[in-house]
Structures are given as structure tokens and as C-alpha cells.
């Protein structure tokens, strides 16, 4: 597509990752290599194929969202990144080093300094105060109390928890507890942040708040974020790169706009049918590049490349003959007329009676 930014460096790379749960994963792995399916493996050998040939390059400084329904293996997958779960086969490279070869001490250093994590159930220490919880990553590394307290206070203020330092986690609401979890991850100052369904346990309104907070922080900090979710709206809102997982294998991965415009198969299509495409698709994804807006019949309106189609529709104010000139940083980069816009709003393969796609699921 038209998103031709320089390709960012790969920070974490998963190569041919397999995870099999059961008594004898090695033998089961042989069967999988010989082409046994997940269902047959469960039937014949009573082993569960959790992850199946996962290859993902996680770009530096971007937000990679891994999406799937429950049971798709997404939480298992994220726990492989800091080896809370070890894979049955495959490689996990962080900054070019295969962390599977790490000693216990090296692995601890990796977890302390390179990766932080935010959990669905918060995982806060109930017997410690909010400040102590937020400062925990630095305290673990042996920093003095004055050092970690200063950092912890800074990040607690940043996530909007000033004045709550001496509370205990149980005295806070769920949303506030997750802010502590986020502050804790930020205090560790690790460049990679793993977020396991971090906002799934929160109310919708608070979830939106937290998403906006995360986007705001990401704008400023440019961390490498791996975000797990089962919610497509959340995934599309946050993702620079989207990976769709189903039954332990990757159905499709890439830029979210591209997935929306060119779904790989019926499963992805079915996923995206309920999406408000006007709100998610950006002008840059559907515009014609280069050409100057033809000064034909209608009005010409200026619009930003990263604006959504919804805002383009609002600008058109019902005028179907309007033509947009698409601008980025003051330069005209393309044009968009209403016909293209409306075409983009139609799902790529509309289900005939609205039921066929649903039956697949």
C-alpha cells in the first residue's frame, strides 16, 4: 500500500516457534513435523498444539498487536517472549541473540532491563503500597529506595495517580490498579513492553481512557510494545502491526489497514465485517497517489493523509461530487474522490445472506 515509511528495525523475532502441551512434547513434535494436524494430535496422542509455526518480526518502536479469540494461543505466545513459557521448538531472537540459550542469570537480566510486562489481572503485590509496587522493577535490580521511589513517583504522576502512593492496591479501582501496573512497567525503563490483555478486565469507558493514555505515552516514548487483545476495535486503534492468531497459527499479519482492505481468508473477513470501516480506514490507505486533484465538477477539499474516512465524509457534508486533495505536512500527496471512498466502505466480500460467514466461526 501507500504506507511507504522506512521499514523499522526488527527488535524481537520469533522463528518457527512451536509449543506443545502434554507429557511428552518432543515425540509429539515429531508427529507435527510429519504433518499431523492439531485435532489429530489431540485425538491420537493427547497432546495440545498450542503454537504452530509462529514467525513474527516485531518492529522496534512500534506497537504490535496480536489478536485472537480465547484459546487461540495469544497469551501463551506473549509469555514466550520473556520465556515465562519455554517453546518446544523454534527460536526467539531479541536484538539478534537467541534467548533460548541464555543462562538463568542472563534471562533475569533480560527480564529486568529489556522487557517489562503488564498483566490482565494486574499482578500487583497486595502487601506493598502503590509506590512500592511501581518501584518494584528497580528495587529488584538493587537500586536504593530514594532512586526507585523518585522514578516510581514520576511515572505514577504520568499515568495520573498522583497522591495515591501510600494506598494499597486493593484500595484502588480496577482501572487505577492497571495504571499502577502500567507505571510499574514504565518505571523499569525497559525498551520492550509486553501487555497481556492489559485492558480487557476494565470497563469500556476506562478502557478507552487507558488506550488513549497508552497511545499518548507511546507517542512520547516510542517503546516496542507487544499488545495482546481479543477485541478487534482495540487492536485496530492501537496497532502499527496486527497479527491475527487462530488455533495457534497465524492467519494474517501486517499493517492493519491492509488487513482490512485485503483480508487473507474467510476467517479474517468474518472478523472484520462488524467493524465501522469509516472510522478505522485512513485516507492514505484508499487515496490515489501522486495525481493532482482534478478540478472537475465539484468542490475541492483539503484533508490529512492520516484522517479517517469518517472525517472525510463529515467534510463532504453529503456532497457526492466533492474531491479531496490529500495533504501530509503541507504537501499534496494524493487525491480521493467520493466513489473511491464509498467503494472502500463496502466490505471486500460481503456475505450473501449475512449468515454464511458466521457459520464458519
Amino acid at each position: 500500500m501507500t504506507d511507504q515509511n522506512e521499514t523499522p528495525e526488527t527488535r524481537v523475532s520469533l522463528k518457527q516457534l512451536y509449543k506443545i502441551f502434554g507429557d511428552d512434547p518432543e515425540t509429539a513434535m515429531e508427529h507435527v513435523r510429519n504433518g499431523l494436524s492439531k485435532a489429530d494430535l489431540l485425538d491420537q496422542h493427547n497432546h495440545v498444539l498450542g503454537l504452530n509455526d509462529i514467525n513474527i518480526d516485531i518492529p522496534d518502536g512500534k506497537m504490535t498487536v496480536i489478536m485472537g479469540l480465547s484459546g487461540s494461543g495469544k497469551s501463551t505466545l506473549i509469555r514466550h517472549l520473556n520465556l515465562l513459557i519455554r517453546p518446544t521448538d523454534g527460536e526467539i531472537e531479541v536484538d539478534g541473540e537467541n534467548i533460548l540459550n541464555y543462562s538463568e542469570a542472563q534471562l533475569r537480566t533480560l527480564r529486568q532491563q529489556k522487557m517489562s510486562m503488564v498483566f490482565q489481572k494486574f499482578g500487583l503485590l497486595p502487601h506493598r503500597t502503590v509506590l512500592e509496587n511501581a518501584g518494584m522493577p528497580l528495587a529488584v535490580r538493587g537500586f536504593s529506595k530514594s532512586e526507585w521511589a523518585e522514578q516510581a513517583r514520576k511515572w505514577l504522576n504520568r499515568v495520573g495517580l498522583d497522591g495515591q502512593e501510600n494506598q494499597h492496591p486493593n484500595q484502588l479501582s480496577g482501572g487505577m490498579q492497571q495504571r499502577v501496573g502500567l507505571a510499574r512497567a514504565l518505571t523499569s525503563n525497559a525498551p520492550i513492553m509486553l501487555m497481556d490483555e492489559a485492558f480487557s478486565a476494565l470497563d469500556p469507558l476506562i478502557r478507552t481512557d487507558m488506550q488513549n493514555l497508552l497511545l499518548e505515552l507511546q507517542e512520547e516514548l516510542q517503546k516496542t510494545v507487544v499488545f495482546i487483545t481479543h477485541d478487534l476495535d482495540e487492536a485496530l486503534k492501537l496497532a502499527d502491526k496486527l497479527v491475527i492468531l487462530k488455533d495457534g497459527f497465524i492467519v494474517q499479519q501486517g499493517e492493519p489497514q491492509r488487513i482490512l482492505l485485503e483480508p487473507a481468508d474467510a476467517y479474517v473477513e468474518e472478523f472484520i465485517t462488524d467493524i465501522n470501516r469509516a472510522r478505522v480506514l485512513r485516507v492514505r490507505s484508499v487515496m490515489r497517489t501522486g495525481a493532482d486533484p482534478k478540478s472537475s465538477s465539484g468542490r475541492v477539499e483539503a484533508i490529512g493523509a492520516d484522517d479517517t474516512l469518517e472525517s472525510a465524509l463529515a467534510k463532504a457534508k453529503g456532497d457526492t461530487s466533492v474531491c479531496f486533495k490529500v495533504e501530509r505536512g503541507g504537501k499534496v500527496v494524493g487525491q480521493l474522490d467520493m466513489t473511491d471512498l464509498v467503494r472502500a466502505l463496502v466490505p471486500s466480500a460481503p456475505p450473501e445472506d449475512g449468515n454464511t460467514a458466521r457459520k464458519v466461526a
Binding site: L84, L107, L110, G123, H127, Q171
Partner: protein, 345 residues
């Protein structure tokens, strides 16, 4: 002829039986049947066939050992290893004697007007409850008023020393159990045995091993009996710590040591304290029984009440024990409640 003669004949063991006629002394029933003089053969019906026990088989074949050989063998075996066991156990347990004697001496030689306020201050420090302090004051005052003070203090110091040692030994064992399923499988049967063995049975081998004048004799009995709950509940408490919290600790790179002292033990503390409470209550139960082997304290009076049928003495001492039990229970429960509230903040 005995019932199982034919069996040995069928097996072709008759010669072996006769060749080594046992020189074991006659059992009482043998003597009775002999003296009653009816050597006549009794035909036993199928209905009355005795179970082929060692004694019955011995009737048929003198070469078979009698049942009393089992108890006798156990006894002899124990007596044989006793001396070598003492070489190891005596020095290893000597500090226990010193601790018990020291505690008894210190508590009894300190005047009552220091001991009672000190106890009240400790109660206040752990429980922060004025009501409880008043209750303890009244109880000790009452006990002292009817001249039970010395006995009560003796019982109390034995319990405190033994419970302290139980915690000192039991908590690390519990921690190790929580870390290794193999060790847990090995230790649980031992704990089950310690818990179900009747309290009197603890005393039997100990009497053989140590002299009755040594305090460690009852010290060991009390510790063995009372250590079980604190071990079990430490193990359970650590295993019950929220998996999500442990995962978070792992994800931020905590070492095993940091995890144990920073997360697992603090979060298991309510359970561990429940174990300490149980341990203290069980040492109180045992300290009474241990008066049989010269443990001083209220138990001695109970024993006197039983032996001499001194109803009043026994009952008063019994009530004193109840008072001590209530005090210890309330104080440890109050401490436990305080831990729980700091956790639930």
C-alpha cells in the same frame, strides 16, 4: 496335633519343623492347656479354624517363630542401636535441655511483679487490644491468687521454648516442601504419622533414649507432636500464593531469594500464623501429657489429681490449663487478625 499340621506335611517341611524344635518358653495359653491335662486331640471344625497366625503355626511346627518374637525383635533392635543413636542425638539435643532449663530458671527466678507486666506488654505489642490485656491480667492475677502462679509460668515457658523451636525448624521445612513435589510426597506420610500417633507413644522410645531427669526428653516429645501444623500450613500458604503475582515477580526478573522473602513468605504469612497458633495449642496439649515424664507445670497437678484422687487439685489445674489455652489462642489470633488487615488494605 494342631490345625495346620497337614499343611506343613503337604509342603514337605515336617523334617525341618521337627529338626529345629524351638526352645522358646511356653506361652500362657500353652501352660493352661497343659495343666488342664486334657492332652486329648480336639477336632476343630472348619467354623473354628484359627487364622494362620505365627502362634498358630508355631503350634503345628515348632520351627516357626512366635508372635512375641516380633515385639521382642523390635525391642532388641531398638536397644542395640540405642547406644549409637545416643552418640548422635545426645549432643544434638543438648541445647534443647539448656534452653528449657534456662527458660524455666529465668522465668521462675524473676519476681512476679516483673514477669506479669512483661507478659502484659508483650500481649499489648502483638494484639493492640486493651480488652485482651485486661483479660490476661485478670487470668494471671487469679492464677497467682490461688497459688498456681509457679506452675502456670513453668507450663508457659516450656510452651514458648518448644513453639519457638517448632517455628524455627518447621517453617524452613514447609518452604522446602512447597518447592519440591518429591520432598512433599516424602514428608507428608511422616507428618501424618506424627499427627496420628497417640501422644503417649512418643514418650516410649524417648524414655529409653534419654534419662527422665533431662528436660529434653519432654522437649523432644512436645516438638515432634506440635511441629506438624506449622510445617503443613507453611507449605500450603506458599503454594496458595496467587499465581498471577508470582508470574509478575518472575516477569520482572526477581531471583528465587527475592521472590521467597519479598513475595511468597509475606503473602503466606496469614497461613503460617494460623499454623503457629495450632502449634502452640498442640504443645499445650502435649505439655500436660509430658508431665508423665517429669515435665514441670500444671500437668503435674493434673497427674497428682488422677493418681491420688485429689479431685480439687486436678480440677483447678485443669481450669488453669484452659485459661492458658484461651490466653495463648486469643493472643495469637489477635496477632493473626492484625496481619490479615494489613494485607487487605
Amino acid at each position: 496335633m494342631a490345625t495346620y499340621d497337614t499343611l506343613f506335611q503337604a509342603l514337605g517341611l515336617k523334617d525341618w519343623c521337627d529338626s529345629s524344635a524351638s526352645s522358646a518358653p511356653m506361652s500362657m495359653s500353652d501352660l493352661v492347656s497343659k495343666s488342664s491335662g486334657d492332652g486329648a486331640e480336639q477336632q476343630t471344625s472348619l467354623w473354628n479354624t484359627p487364622f494362620p497366625s505365627l502362634d498358630t503355626l508355631n503350634d503345628a511346627c515348632p520351627a516357626m517363630p512366635q508372635s512375641r518374637a516380633v515385639t521382642k525383635g523390635l525391642e532388641e533392635g531398638f536397644l542395640n542401636i540405642k547406644d549409637s543413636l545416643k552418640v548422635v542425638l545426645d549432643p544434638a539435643t543438648q541445647p534443647l535441655s539448656w534452653m528449657l532449663d534456662g527458660a524455666l530458671y529465668a522465668m521462675l527466678s524473676t519476681p512476679w511483679w516483673l514477669v506479669i507486666p512483661a507478659i502484659l506488654m508483650i500481649v499489648w505489642a502483638v494484639s493492640r487490644s486493651a480488652g485482651l490485656v485486661a483479660f490476661v491480667a485478670v487470668s494471671f492475677g487469679g492464677l497467682a491468687f490461688i497459688d498456681q502462679y509457679d506452675y502456670a509460668i513453668q507450663t508457659l515457658s516450656i510452651i514458648l521454648v518448644c513453639a519457638f523451636l517448632c517455628v524455627l525448624i518447621g517453617v524452613p521445612i514447609g518452604i522446602l516442601m512447597s518447592r519440591s513435589n518429591g520432598l512433599r510426597r516424602a514428608i507428608i506420610p511422616v507428618l501424618d504419622m506424627l499427627q496420628t500417633l497417640p501422644p503417649f507413644v512418643y514418650l516410649i522410645p524417648l524414655i529409653f533414649l534419654f534419662s527422665v531427669t533431662e528436660s529434653k526428653l519432654f522437649g523432644i516429645a512436645i516438638i515432634l507432636y506440635a511441629i506438624v501444623p506449622v510445617v503443613r500450613l507453611t507449605d500450603l500458604g506458599i503454594r496458595l500464593v496467587d499465581k498471577d503475582v508470582i508470574e509478575a515477580a518472575d516477569a520482572f526478573g526477581m531471583s528465587r531469594h527475592q521472590k521467597l522473602f519479598g513475595v511468597q513468605i509475606p503473602l503466606a504469612l496469614p497461613n503460617i500464623m494460623a499454623g503457629v497458633n495450632q502449634t502452640i495449642m498442640m504443645s499445650l496439649a502435649m505439655v500436660v501429657i509430658a508431665s508423665l515424664v517429669s515435665a514441670p507445670g500444671l500437668g503435674v497437678l493434673v497427674l497428682r489429681g488422677i493418681r491420688n484422687l485429689e479431685l480439687g487439685v486436678g480440677l483447678v489445674a485443669g481450669l488453669g490449663i484452659v485459661l492458658l489455652a484461651v490466653i495463648l489462642d486469643r493472643v495469637t489470633k489477635a496477632a493473626l487478625a492484625r496481619i490479615n488487615t494489613t494485607h487487605q488494605h
